[in-house]
Structures are given as C-alpha cells and as structure tokens.
C-alpha cells in the first residue's frame, strides 16, 4: 500500500522565486489497484509520480510504502516513461535482462527470464535488435518488459502511450490491461487522455493546476475484464468520460 501524506513540492524558478508545484497532496493507493492521474498541463502530475519513484525529493510531507518512507528509487517501484529511456548500447534482450543482472542473476538465467518477458510483450523475434531499429510501440513494449523483469510491486507509468499513434496506443492499452489482470501490480498511470484513464482505471484522480492539487477522485465502477468494443456502447463509460472532460475543460477556461 502506498500512502501519501501532506505532500508538497516547491521549485526555485529561474528568476529565483518560489513556485509551489504541488500543494498538500493526500492519497492512498491500495495494493493491486489501477489508478490514473489526469489534469491540465502544469498540474504537477508527473512531478507527483517522480516523487513516488524517489527520483526527486519532497519539500514537505512524506510518502510511505507499506509503512516505510520513500528515500530514493528502488526496485519495488518500476517506472515506464513516455520517452522509453532504453539503453541504446544494449540489445532488446540485454535491456530486459538489465535489472535481473543487477540482482546478481547469472547471464543465462537473466536472459532466459528476459525471453519469457519478451514473449509476453510479443517481441520474441526481436531479441537481438537494438532499440533504434524498433518502432515507438515496440520500444515501449521493451521498456515495459524491462521494468516487469525485476518484478516491482508498483508500476509508475508517465504518459507511457503519449508518443504513440492511436492504433498502437489501443493495442498497448489492451495488452497492459491483460498483463495487469494477470499480475495485479499496483499501477499509477499519468495520462492526458480521459478515455484512456477511464478505460484502464479503478479510480481516476483529477488534478488542478496553480498550485497543483487533487481536485477530485472518481471511482470507475465498470466491470472487469473490460473490452473496449463493449465499453463503447456502455452509457456509464460515456458518462464518466463526459464528466471528467467537463471538469478539465472548466480548469482550462479558468486558467485562460
């Protein structure tokens, strides 16, 4: 379980002024829950994710994971970035085996496990390719496999499908849900797409900007496993989307 208590983040701007990026965030994530964060740009949703990852320190408040405060990055929380962040000098297989090798597994053992993951993301034919030889969607599949390899309890996904075309995006969303149904990891998923958030999540956190704060948390009570094609005809699904779109539109009108 992840508990976020009175979390704030201040930045020094270039002009030397204090900027409050996140103000008094309180949130609890249950184990195995799929939670999306959505909000206008500048609301600090990625910053919140990075703080949970332990990549940037909090200014005030704390984050507890199973009761222990976060002090830095760790293999219990695996990030997946929009930019993939793959190691260019390693092959697909070596990228995925990376975390396992760090855990002290032998090369053979790590690669055998990496092959299983590669199969899971449907790229077994590309084991010896370099990341630059893959399409965006394939790169993101490799990045997800690399993170799943060291078996984190929580996935921290920062607009993972934001750079992909609509078709690839749909495929990856479906595959991610399938993996999640199977492994039930806690997922925190930052996105710009309301539809994506509603389709994937148990709860959608709607954030507002200036300063970044949680405006509302909306439980998505749609049955699982979810099929996108069926949801399209589901009135509740459409209502969730309309409701959240409306809230974000209102923030943006306010800001403009």
């Amino acid at each position: 379980m992840i508990a976020i208590e009175h979390l704030s983040k201040r930045f020094k701007t270039a002009a030397g002024k204090d900027h409050l990026a996140l103000s008094d965030i309180n949130l609890e994530l249950k184990s195995g829950e799929f939670v999306s964060i959505i909000g206008p740009s500048g609301c600090g949703k990625s910053t919140l994710l990075y703080m949970i990852g332990g990549f940037i320190p909090a200014s005030e408040g704390r984050i507890l994971i199973d009761g222990k405060p976060v002090a830095g990055p760790g293999p219990d929380r695996g990030p997946v970035f929009q930019e993939f962040a793959l190691f260019a000098w390693k092959t697909v297989l070596q990228n995925i085996a990376y975390g396992l090798r760090l855990q002290g597994k032998s090369k053979a053992e790590a690669e055998a496990r990496a092959r299983v993951l590669l199969k899971m993301v449907g790229l077994e034919r590309f084991a010896n390719f370099y990341p630059k030889e893959l399409s965006g969607g394939m790169k993101q599949r490799v990045a997800i496999a690399r993170t799943l390899a060291y078996d984190p309890q929580t996935l921290l996904m920062d607009e993972p499908f934001g750079a992909l075309d609509a078709h690839t995006r749909t495929h990856l969303q479906r595959d991610l849900l399938q993996i999640w149904e199977e492994h039930r990891k806690t997922v925190l998923f930052v996105t710009h797409s309301v539809e994506e958030a509603v389709y994937l999540s148990d709860r959608v956190i709607v954030m507002a900007a200036g300063p970044g704060r949680i405006d509302r948390i909306i439980p998505i009570e749609l049955d699982r496993p979810r099929q996108r094609s069926e949801l399209m005809f589901d009135r509740r699904y459409q209502e969730y989307i309309t409701q959240i779109e409306g809230m974000i539109d209102a923030f943006e009108t306010e800001a403009a």
Partner: protein, 251 residues
C-alpha cells in the same frame, strides 16, 4: 561514404599537388627552395626503404599514440570524477579553468628539464594538450544524458557508481568519440611540434634537421608522413566509432 564521394574527396588533394607542381615548375620559387612533388615522392619511397628512417616514423607514432591514449584515459577519468558529485565537479572545474587557457607549449621547457629530452617530455606535452578536448566533450556528454535513463537504471537497482560507469558513460560515448577525434588531430600537431623544438629523433626532428642543412626535399617528406599518420589514425578511429556506436541513433 560511397566510392563516388571518396573520389570527389580526392579532387582537392590532387588540385593541391598540381598547384604545387606548377609552382615548382614555373620557376617562381628557386628549385633549391621548393622541390617538385615528383622529387619529394621519389625521396619518400627511397626513405621508406631505409630502416633508420622507419625507426624515426616509429618513434613519432609511439609518442603520438601513447600520448593520445593516456589523454583519453585521463580526460575520461576527470570527466567521470566531475560528473560524480558537486564537490568533485567544483574541484575539477577549477583545475580545468586555470589550465585550459594556458598555452601548454609554455610548459614544455619545464617538462624537458624535469623529464629529459627523450620520449617522456613529448608524450607529456601531447597528454596535457589532448586531454582537454576529451575532458570537455565527455563532461558535456555526461551532463546531457537524459535523466530518465538514470532513473530507469536506479529503479532497476543500480547504485550511483554503477549508473555513472555503466549508464552515463556509455550514454555519452558519441560525445567522447567526437572529443577523441579532435584530440587525435591535436596530438598529431603537438607531437610534431615537440620534436621540432627539441629532439634527437622523430619526424619533427627529421624536418628541422633537413631545414638546418638546407636539404629541402627531405624537409617535405616528414610533412607528408605526419599528414598520412593523422589520416590513417583518423580512419582507424572512425572504424572503431562505427563498431562501438552500432546501436546509437544516427551516427
């Protein structure tokens, strides 16, 4: 590079040799001062058959390569130190800021006094000149590494030291090799210069010795050879670059 563009690359070199030949033949410069390229090439082949002369080339090559390699290690180590923490960054940068604007050749007399007239003073001069571009390129390259690459590695369980050596350093490899390219050219210049100033062997010494004795043909041979050495080593570095950077975008 296609065969065609390689041929096009030869055109300016050919033009230069033709201009030289024309100048020499026109009699504008006395023949004793500006020999014809044909005579120089002829002399070059004669000398290449002479084991004593080959030993001179060997000396220069040895100083050049060892100086360059030491500079590569030194520049990279300093950059890694600099990238490892704020304290070391401040310390290394202060050191670099003081030494970088200094004409390193000014230290050469001191080096000769300390290290003698042999290999070490030449190699030392090459090292301090060539280490700077490698340091700067490596340092910049490591600073520009996408922090998400480091975050991904740290989450997978990598220590800070592991990240520095096995994530940031390889991620900066294209920069390091660009710095090495510049450093290699500088090494060619500096080793030649150091041998011209004070040496009893090496191509620079051959040049200055020929000039002192008014053997103009012999003067041009080392010039062609240092060019050829630079060209050959540069081609080797390019081949290495292609091999090392096989997975990197572009390049």
């Amino acid at each position: 590079m296609t065969a065609n563009s390689k041929l096009i690359g030869l055109v300016p070199i050919l033009g230069l040799v033709l201009l030289w030949g024309w100048l020499a033949a026109s009699g504008m410069a006395p023949r004793a001062l500006l020999p014809s390229p044909v005579d120089v090439v002829q002399r070059l082949f004669e000398l290449l058959a002479d084991p004593d002369f080959l030993a001179q080339i060997g000396t220069t090559l040895f100083r050049l390569v060892s100086g360059f390699l030491i500079a590569l290690v030194l520049g990279t180590v300093l950059a890694v130190l600099s990238a490892s923490s704020e304290v070391t960054q401040t310390a290394v940068n202060a050191f670099v800021r003081i030494l970088a604007p200094l004409p390193k050749i000014a230290l050469y007399p001191a080096m000769i006094l300390i290290l003698g007239f042999g290999h070490s003073s030449k190699i030392a001069l090459v090292v301090i000149e060539a280490a700077f571009p490698i340091y700067l390129a490596t340092y910049q390259g490591m600073r520009n590494v996408d922090k998400k690459l480091v975050w991904a590695a740290r989450s997978a369980g990598a220590s800070r030291l592991h990240c520095l050596l096995f994530v940031m350093l390889p991620a900066a490899a294209p920069s390091i090799l660009t710095g090495a390219r510049v450093a290699l050219v500088i090494s060619c210049i500096v080793v030649f210069l150091s041998e011209m100033m004070s040496s009893t062997e090496g191509l620079g010494y051959v040049l200055i010795d020929a000039a002192r004795n008014f053997r103009t043909i012999d003067m041009f041979v080392p010039i062609i050879l240092i060019s050829a050495l630079g060209l050959g080593l540069g081609a080797g570095l390019s081949a290495l670059r292609r091999k090392l950077l096989v997975g990197y975008p572009q390049d």
